[in-house]
């Protein structure tokens, strides 16, 4: 048996370590460890709940809006505040565009190099690349001259002997299977996607001043003023037009570049639609309300669970069934609490019990991660784009169903192909397609509100802390790019008493629980074949298919009557 260690796992957010045991050229067991802890929940204690979102937002700079969103929802839930319709629309627009942006960056910049050999592009015939490009899409940048210029750029880089971000790839690995012409296509779109992400996210700058870390949320609404007749209003007809242009640009890029590229690249790796399947249980909180947040039935993305890969039933989600487990995490709970607690009464007492650095291996038989292990009714759950697409597909949501069926037809696949490494990749692209299309509808609604004089953006009824009850508790749920995110807040005497986060990557990358049950990463890696253990490309393919965000995954909480409480965050 051989032990493979990947640390750092790069092209992710945060600090992730994977240890895997090999038997007969396949992964026989795997351990996922988060190796960084900040303690943001501890830092949040005793602060003004109205500004918790500004702090919590810094849990992650990649999915930069998601903790802000979950935080204001948690505090609004605690204080019983409903936000005006314009705030609902602004939040939907911000969240959907965050998803589209994140998914595009994930595919091209964090994941593509697991499938694309950049050196292959050097050998390509640009004229053939042009033919392929034109056969799969109407995207205009598809001439042979254009692809030649991209190839020259790669050649220039090689000639300079300073290879920058491409210095250290597994180039030449035998399981890179694309023809050189498709490699060149992908490299060209890697560079175009860099331009796209910069331009598209100006949407967030218009609404929030900057990205990352928008500065526009408020408990009770948004700070984005709206007025059809005021040139100084943050949103006026001119700025609405800019939002529309950017939304259209996103929809075009997703439909003409991102989704066709997924299908083209995936067609060379059909066995990866049968590998990396993981847990088979999927959960989503749902999001994108059409009315008040409490009216879960109005959500554009439905809440629900799929169990044992059975698409015939969508099971209800009861947030009371969620617990966090620390049996194998570097934390301890108070003696009587066992190793499992609901987040509303969660504790986080960090207690490192791993090897002293520098170390070669973790003690994977004991505690081995700064991530906790969330469970639903004692079961690990896969969250994320695949979970959302499956639940909405099974629930018969028209837009999701048509996107998924269209892709399955084009790729000549059955729905069960989605339970796989490439299934996750495809689901992410299809979600981007659905959300990119929804954006213009919300912008239209905003425009209509503005034109009929509905300008409210903030509900100030509970802004003054003097109006608050002595104690309050709230939950804020949100669907972040990487999956279901929850914030739980307890307020006492106008200050935060306890704050707890369960991020999507905590669900996915967490270690085993008290029963030894693996989380999603660990389960999905079992039986992965490795051609060359020195270049564990195949492990990266599956781990990256989840889009890890480790900074999100580690959090901190405190218990009533206990002075210290911590948590680790795994990311959205």
């Amino acid at each position: 048996m051989a032990r493979v260690v990947i640390d750092p796992v790069t092209r992710i957010e945060g600090h992730l370590r994977i240890e895997a045991e090999l038997q007969g050229g396949k992964v026989s067991d795997a351990w996922s460890s988060g190796t960084m802890f900040r303690g943001i929940e501890i830092i949040l204690r005793d602060r003004d709940p109205r500004e918790a979102w500004i702090w919590a937002q810094r849990i992650c700079g990649v999915c930069t809006t998601v903790h802000a969103m979950a935080s204001v929802r948690a505090v609004e839930n605690a204080l019983g505040v409903e936000v005006p319709d314009n705030a609902r629309l602004l939040r939907n627009i911000i969240a959907a565009s965050q998803n589209v942006q994140d998914h595009v960056i994930h595919f091209y910049h964090l994941h593509a190099l697991d499938w694309v050999d950049v050196t292959g592009a050097l050998k390509a015939d640009p004229a053939k690349t042009s033919q392929i490009a034109q056969s799969i899409s109407d995207w205009p940048k598809s001439s042979a001259v254009y692809f030649k210029s991209v190839q020259d750029r790669v050649k220039g880089l090689v000639a300079s002997r300073q290879l920058s971000i491409f210095t250290s790839g597994y180039w030449g690995h035998p399981d890179y299977r694309l023809p050189p012409e498709v490699d060149l296509l992908a490299v060209a779109h890697y560079l175009e996607a860099l331009e796209f992400q910069r331009e598209y996210i100006r949407l967030h700058a218009v609404l929030g001043g900057k990205n990352p870390h928008l500065q526009t949320f408020l408990v009770g609404g948004m700070a984005t003023s709206i007025d059809p007749n005021e040139p100084q209003a943050v949103l006026n007809p001119e700025r609405i037009d800019l939002l529309r242009q950017l939304a259209t640009m996103g929809e075009t890029f997703v439909n003409q570049v991102y989704v066709p590229d997924i299908l083209a690249i995936a067609s060379y790796y059909p066995d990866w639609f049968q590998r990396g399947e993981g847990l088979g249980n999927f959960m989503t909180y749902g999001d994108y309300p059409a009315g008040g947040l409490k009216s879960v039935a109005s959500y554009g993305f439905k809440r629900g669970m799929i169990l044992n890969r059975d698409l015939s039933t969508v099971h209800p989600v009861d947030p009371a069934q969620i617990t966090e487990n620390v049996a194998r995490s570097w934390y301890e709970y108070d003696g009587a609490s066992g190793t499992s607690l609901h987040p509303s009464e969660g504790q986080t007492h960090p207690k490192y019990a791993g090897p002293q650095p520098p170390y070669e291996f973790l003690d994977v038989e004991a505690k081995y991660s700064w991530l906790k292990s969330p469970r639903y009714n004692n079961m690990p759950m896969e969250v994320g784009p695949l979970a959302r697409m499956l639940v909405n597909y099974a629930a018969g949501q028209t837009d999701v169903k048509s996107a998924v069926d269209g892709a399955l037809l084009a790729a000549k696949l059955q729905p069960q192909a989605l339970y796989s490494t490439l299934g996750r990749v495809a689901a992410r692209g299809l979600e981007a397609k659905v959300l990119a299309a929804k954006l213009s509808g919300w912008i239209d609604e905003l425009d209509a509100n503005m034109n009929r004089g509905e300008l409210r953006i903030h509900n100030g009824e509970m802004w003054d802390p003097a109006s608050w009850p002595k104690q309050a508790q709230g939950t804020g749920l949100h669907e972040a790019p990487r999956g279901s995110l929850g914030h739980w807040v307890e307020i006492e005497d106008r200050k935060i008493k306890n704050y707890q986060v369960i991020a999507p990557t905590t669900w996915l990358a967490g270690p085993r629980d008290a029963n030894g049950v693996r989380g999603a990463y660990e389960a999905s890696l079992l039986n992965t074949p490795l051609v060359n253990p020195e270049q564990p490309l195949e492990i990266l393919r599956t781990v990256h298919s989840f889009d890890p965000c480790l900074a999100c995954a580690v959090h901190v909480v405190d218990a009533a009557e206990v002075e210290l409480a911590h948590e680790i965050l795994t990311c959205a």
Binding site: I12, R161, A205, G221
Partner: protein, 391 residues
């Protein structure tokens, strides 16, 4: 040892920024436009344009390694949004980014080899950028990479660097991670590198325009730009946000947002009463802006949180509490009591800064300053604030 196909290529003369740009068909005109943007950001006189262009044409592209510790990757993401140069030009043309965990191709051993090769082959010549805080608590177990502590990695990598740059609040002074009660014993980079000049590009996140400008300055002149007492470049951190703010005229006119979403908020009135920290924070946020100069937080309707100020998480929060008092007038003075001269000035749309100057001249003639320097500002609570004087 891992090998790379790329590294097996025959040795060829190493590329300059301009030769790399030219090889991908960038015109001379566009190249000069880029040089011009950089010269302007650096607040250099126009006459320096040719010097910047000459340097980028002739000097070798520097190798850069970018380390992340207790971070959120927000500074990496911010770098991805850079518009002059765009990120592809930044990583492929301006520098060679040989180690950056968010973008680099290789993981694990291959990533580590890229780092080790860079610091050995380019000893004394490479640039280190650090993002995130560095924890000291409990032997550094709160952040390890490849089984090593952040502290041991950063000290090894920075030892032979030509320049060390901290991007974002966390790398500068510990940022949010070091905010009270600092559960992991986090510090900024300078604390662990005594004797090294760390250039601090504070902000949450850093503004990539400033970071690109620092690099351009370094490539052009072979040295870092002028720094303030916190080792922050003066061109970016030398002036108060309040003095550059597009809403300043409303402050001087006593026109404030009183409640979120009120009439004043739609008219772009001053956010001081909603807790804006612009009067106590220095940064070029209002002029450089974000995301291809699209906007900045105050323009988007929310007060400044002072993210470029020292230890801002603890010193600037609570973020919605208004600052006690600020020099100049407006806040507690009814509009009617302010002279007609001022209102006239607002009406004709003079630049905000010019207006404030006019007011102060009327009030305290001795403070009037005809140079380009910003006016001295006294902090309301007597706390020392960053040096606003440009050199």
């Amino acid at each position: 040892m891992p090998t790379s196909k790329f590294l097996a290529e025959p040795e060829i003369e190493e590329a300059t920024v301009y030769s790399t740009l030219r090889s991908r068909g960038v015109s001379r005109r566009r190249f000069l436009q880029f040089c011009s943007v950089m010269t302007a950001t650096l607040a250099l006189p126009d006459s320096y344009l040719t010097r910047v262009a000459d340097a980028l044409e002739t000097k070798q592209r520097p190798v850069m390694v970018w380390l992340e510790f207790q971070d959120c990757a927000g500074n990496s993401e911010s770098m991805l949004r850079t518009s002059a140069p765009d990120i592809a030009a930044f990583v492929l043309d301006l520098v060679s980014l040989n180690y950056h965990e968010v973008l680099m191709a290789g993981s694990g051993k291959f990533a580590d080899k890229a780092l080790q090769d860079s610091i050995r082959q380019y000893k004394g010549k490479y640039i280190v950028v650090v993002e995130g805080a560095i924890p000291h608590g409990d032997g550094g177990v709160y952040c390890t990479i490849g089984g090593r502590t952040a502290l041991s990695i950063v000290q090894e990598v920075c030892k032979d660097a030509a320049a060390v740059i901290a991007v974002g609040a966390c790398a500068w002074d510990g940022g949010l991670v070091a905010a009270s009660p600092n559960p992991t014993g986090a510090t900024g980079l300078q604390t662990v590198l005594p004797g090294t000049t760390v250039v601090n590009l504070g902000g949450c996140p850093h503004n990539p325009a400033n970071t690109a400008a620092v690099l351009t300055h370094y490539i052009t002149f072979g040295e870092l730009p002028a720094l303030d007492q916190y080792n922050r470049p003066l061109f970016a951190y030398g002036r108060l946000i309040h003095d550059q703010c597009e809403r300043r005229a409303h402050y001087d006119a006593g026109e404030f947002v009183e409640e979120w979403g009120d009439d004043g908020s739609r008219k772009g009135f001053c956010l001081y009463k909603m807790g804006c920290k612009g009067p106590e924070s220095t940064f070029n946020c209002p002029t450089v802006r974000w995301n291809n100069a699209t906007s900045w937080p105050v323009k988007a309707g929310h007060g400044c949180i002072g993210c470029a100020a020292p230890r801002f998480w603890d010193t600037m929060s609570p973020f919605y509490r208004r600052l006690p008092s600020v020099p100049g007038f407006g806040v507690d003075v009814p509009i009617g009591e302010i002279g007609a001269v001022l209102l006239g000035a607002v009406a004709v749309g003079s630049a905000a800064h010019g207006i404030s100057r006019a007011i102060r001249f009327r009030k305290e003639p001795s403070e009037h300053n005809t140079s380009a320097d910003p006016e001295p500002s006294t902090p309301p609570d007597g706390k020392p604030i960053p040096n606003e004087k440009e050199n």
